[in-house]
């Protein structure tokens, strides 16, 4: 039987290279949970075996249960009737089976019914689910809301909300955006007020809320009346009830299975999560790392399926007396897709590892603090992980979601006229892909978020280490190409810095972020090729292609291609 985990060689390659021991040692509290929980691992190897077995279940359900429902979910979509949102039949059936398989609390602690998995493994599941049906990810992937509550809520709140998440009884939603607060969340207006007993209530409107019909809502609200910026915002949790009115759901280009709600809170009882005024600055930020990585996983899943469809079609379709797969132009397009997919996955799991480390160090930091142990060492590690996660999260979301659009576009292209028709699944994949570089922060916002890390060259130590490493055979030449990209990047960066023009820097930032991603991803691929001959082809194409692109990126900056933005009003007639 088909399995999206155990039959995907590239996914297995990364699974076998997971270096999660430090993280798993921490989240498993040195494997001390076996007395209390039969499913707890006895050591790291046992944990890895658990992850493999559970991902096999995910891969099985995705390939054999969810994927066959994808077309009907797209066709039917989520609907609303008298304010009540209903999932498409296939969505509901898929959620039910995932709950039966105990997969809805993968990252929650065991005492709340979860599996206590690291984020990296969970994201592999998200990728696999997204491949089967992209919009299901928007509900399956909301496990991050439970995770956020686990991190910041009181024990009492956790007991109230988390077991329902694990069992699949509850789905969640994060209610952040409003009509006038999209990319600019500081402008959130929905107000939270207290009655004389100190109980909180919510009043106002939220828009574009994914799964706003969910049972547990995390709401970003203005608790400090009269304030206008982020410091007046707090995070509140509430249960779905009659005071919340779903006014409408959006009619979207893609991800039809995921209901996007406009909702009105009419004095809805709520509970404060964590500390007042830290809503956006701390809790949404925490959630946002995870949500962005989640979109990376969704992008990868869609890309994988678009590639599979293109490959299958190219082999089956005959023109000029042979399959179009045998035409060099088509084969070349397919290789481009494949190499992009593989390099994206490499970047993705590196990012997941850093996110896992960041969160594990945060937990360690709190434990050390409570135990009054010296904090210096863990603090250093945490700072480093934060710095790198801050760069890699937006960079990865940017690269993967843009690539997802390109891969689905090319997949339609390989299908020719057929691909434009509803009868084949690639047009759905292209429509689903289109949102990935928009939501959870547009690509333009990701560039802004990544720029600081790029300008400060935060990966310099790792890159320097790679530059000093010896590589085998033909890889030496590829390393010299990466050295060349590095020097092109340094040049371009110096040019931008010397110019001391913030407008120029804003526009050039995209090129700089791309340049930096070539170097980091390039070395990751070079390492893979050094360890495994089968990876040489993709490393080669990625690095040589990146060198060509790097030259273009640098040229755009140094030729002052962007100087005409000063004359925008004259050009944009």
């Amino acid at each position: 039987m088909a399995n999206y985990f155990s039959e995907n060689r590239d996914i297995l390659f990364h699974f076998d290279r997971f270096k999660l021991k430090e993280v798993v040692d921490i989240i498993e509290e040195n494997y001390s949970q076996t007395e209390k929980f039969q499913d707890a691992p006895h050591n790291y190897e046992d944990a890895i075996e658990n992850y493999r077995k559970v991902l096999e279940i995910v891969g099985d359900i995705a390939a054999n249960f969810i994927a066959p429902r994808a077309a009907s979910i797209d066709e039917e979509g989520a609907t609303i009737d008298y304010g009540k949102v209903k999932y498409a039949k296939g969505t509901q059936e898929s959620l039910d089976i995932l709950a039966q398989a105990e997969l809805m609390g993968m990252i929650l602690p065991r005492r709340f019914g979860g599996l206590n998995f690291p984020t990296t493994v969970y994201m592999m599941a998200v990728e696999i689910i997204s491949r089967a049906e992209a919009s299901l990810m928007n509900i399956f992937g909301l496990q991050d809301i439970g995770k956020t509550l686990d991190k910041f809520a009181t024990e009492e709140q956790k007991e109230k909300y988390l077991p329902g998440f694990s069992s699949g009884l509850y789905t969640g939603a994060m209610a952040l955006t409003e009509p006038d607060a999209g990319s600019d969340l500081q402008a959130v207006k929905l107000s939270a007020y207290q009655d004389e007993n100190g109980k909180w209530f919510l009043r106002g409107v939220k828009r574009f809320i994914t799964n706003g019909n969910g049972d547990v809502l995390l709401v970003l609200a203005r608790t400090e009346s009269g304030t206008k910026d982020a410091r007046g915002l707090s995070m509140l949790a509430c249960m779905k009830d009659d005071t919340i009115k779903i006014r409408r759901i959006e009619h979207k280009l893609g991800i039809h299975g995921s209901p996007t709600c406009e909702m009105q809170f009419n004095d809805t009882p709520a509970e404060l999560v964590g500390t007042r005024r830290f809503g956006l600055l701390k809790y949404v930020l925490y959630l946002m790392y995870r949500a962005r990585v989640g979109i990376g996983a969704q992008s990868l899943g869609i890309s994988q399926q678009a590639y599979e469809e293109a490959l299958k079609y190219a082999k089956a379709r005959e023109q000029f007396g042979k399959s179009i797969y045998q035409l060099p132009v088509i084969a070349n397009m397919l290789i481009d897709m494949r190499v992009t997919l593989e390099s994206n996955r490499t970047l993705f799991y590196a990012t997941c590892h850093w996110l896992d480390r960041k969160e594990a160090y945060e937990d360690m930091f709190e434990i050390y603090k409570a135990e009054k142990k010296p904090l210096n060492e863990i603090n250093e590690k945490l700072k480093e992980a934060l710095k790198i996660t801050n760069l890699l999260t937006p960079m990865t979301k940017l690269i993967l979601s843009e690539a997802c659009n390109k891969i689905t576009y090319d997949s339609i292209q390989i299908h020719g006229g057929t691909g434009y028709m509803k009868e084949f699944p690639v047009e759905r994949l292209a429509r689903d892909a289109r949102i990935t570089n928009i939501y959870e922060g547009t690509s333009q916002m990701q560039v802004v978020a990544a720029t600081g890390g790029v300008i400060n060259d935060v990966l310099v130590d790792y890159i320097t280490e790679w530059e000093q490493k010896e590589y085998k055979g033909s890889l030496v030449k590829l390393k010299s190409s990466l050295l060349e990209i590095r020097s092109i990047f340094n040049d371009a960066l110096k040019y931008v810095k010397d110019k001391k023009d913030s407008n120029f820097q804003d526009v050039a930032a995209k090129d700089l972020v791309e340049l930096y991603s070539y170097i980091y991803t390039g070395y990751l691929l070079l390492d893979e090729a050094n360890d495994d001959m089968s990876r040489v082809f993709s490393a080669k194409r990625y690095i040589l292609d990146s060198l060509a692109k790097a030259k273009k990126n640098a040229e755009s900056i140094k030729n002052e291609l962007y100087s005409d933005i000063l004359h925008a009003d004259s050009i944009l007639i």
Partner: protein
């Protein structure tokens, strides 16, 4: 009101995935080349037993007669929610037909005892006989209802079931205990449960534990078995001697069925026959199809 069920399951060759290497020249199947899977209808039978457990409580025990590697599907039963598993395995069981198999299984069921239901799939995809379930019921001297699609009602000492018949269904009532064989399309088996997979992935039969002790002088089989029992990881393992069986009724000795001849039939397209579009032409065609037993 709770009910205990015993479910008979079988590991079968995956006949849906037959590739070139699998068929031998004489037309028989090279089993070593085929992946082994959980017989689909047995999985549906287990689902039905688990649904009764979910609703009324009680215990679900699974048994299989087969080679040591059949432990794979017993673990899968534990992943789905079975409480206990038994592997009935002995070299002397080899070559058993449905008579010998139902003898061994019925004796194993008597050995386990304390059951309200015995469930089995209608038939296994390797033999396609649909005989083992009914023969087991005969030997246990309990009523049987075959081709079941749905449990309509369960009461203290009787059950109402819906079974498929040609062109429709019938609803039957039976006293308990009874044996029920299940159709695969009737139920969608639940997936493996993540936490159970992690908890029971180490479950082992006695034969597998013995393998672990081989070449490791520090491990003693009795100790190991106790440890696995204590952790809930032990898959009960019964041999012919454990069940005190009559050897002449087991395996090839107890099997009157002999495969006389296996014929490899290759269907090929023949000549076209033109049928004139007249009343007479069509009538001749129908006669022809009836002669070939394709119609009627």
């Amino acid at each position: 009101m709770s009910f205990n069920s015993i479910v008979m399951v079988k590991q079968v060759p995956d006949t849906a995935n037959i590739s070139g290497q699998v068929m031998k020249e004489d037309g028989t199947v090279n089993r070593a080349k085929l992946p082994a899977i959980f017989n689909h209808e047995d999985r549906a039978a287990l689902e039905l037993a688990l649904q009764i457990k979910d609703k009324f409580g009680g215990k679900v025990t699974v048994i299989t007669m087969g080679p040591p590697r059949a432990s794979d599907i017993l673990r899968e039963c534990l992943y789905m929610g079975a409480d206990e598993a038994y592997l009935i395995s002995d070299r002397k069981f080899a070559g058993a037909d449905t008579l010998a198999t139902s003898y061994v299984l019925s004796e194993a069921i008597k050995y386990i005892g304390n059951y309200d239901f015995v469930f089995a799939g209608r038939q296994a995809i390797d033999g396609d006989t649909a005989q083992v379930g009914p023969q087991t019921a005969e030997k246990l001297v309990i009523p049987q209802i075959t081709y079941v699609e749905e449990i309509v009602k369960v009461q203290k000492d009787k059950v109402t079931l819906k079974r498929k018949i040609d062109g429709g269904f019938e609803v039957l009532e039976s006293t308990l205990p009874c044996l029920v064989t299940v159709l695969k399309d009737a139920l969608f088996p639940r997936p493996f449960k993540a936490r159970r997979v992690m908890a029971y992935k180490n479950a082992k039969t006695l034969l597998e534990l013995e393998k672990m002790t081989e070449g490791n002088s520090l491990l003693y089989i009795d100790q190991l078995k106790d440890e696995y029992l204590h952790k809930g990881w032990y898959i009960h393992t019964l041999t012919m001697d454990d069940l005190k069986l009559d050897e002449s009724r087991c395996g090839v000795h107890g099997s009157p069925t002999k495969v006389h001849k296996v014929e490899s039939v290759v269907l090929t397209g023949g000549n076209h026959v033109m049928v004139p579009p007249t009343k007479e032409g069509i009538s001749n065609l129908i006669d022809h199809l009836m002669e070939d037993h394709i119609l009627g």
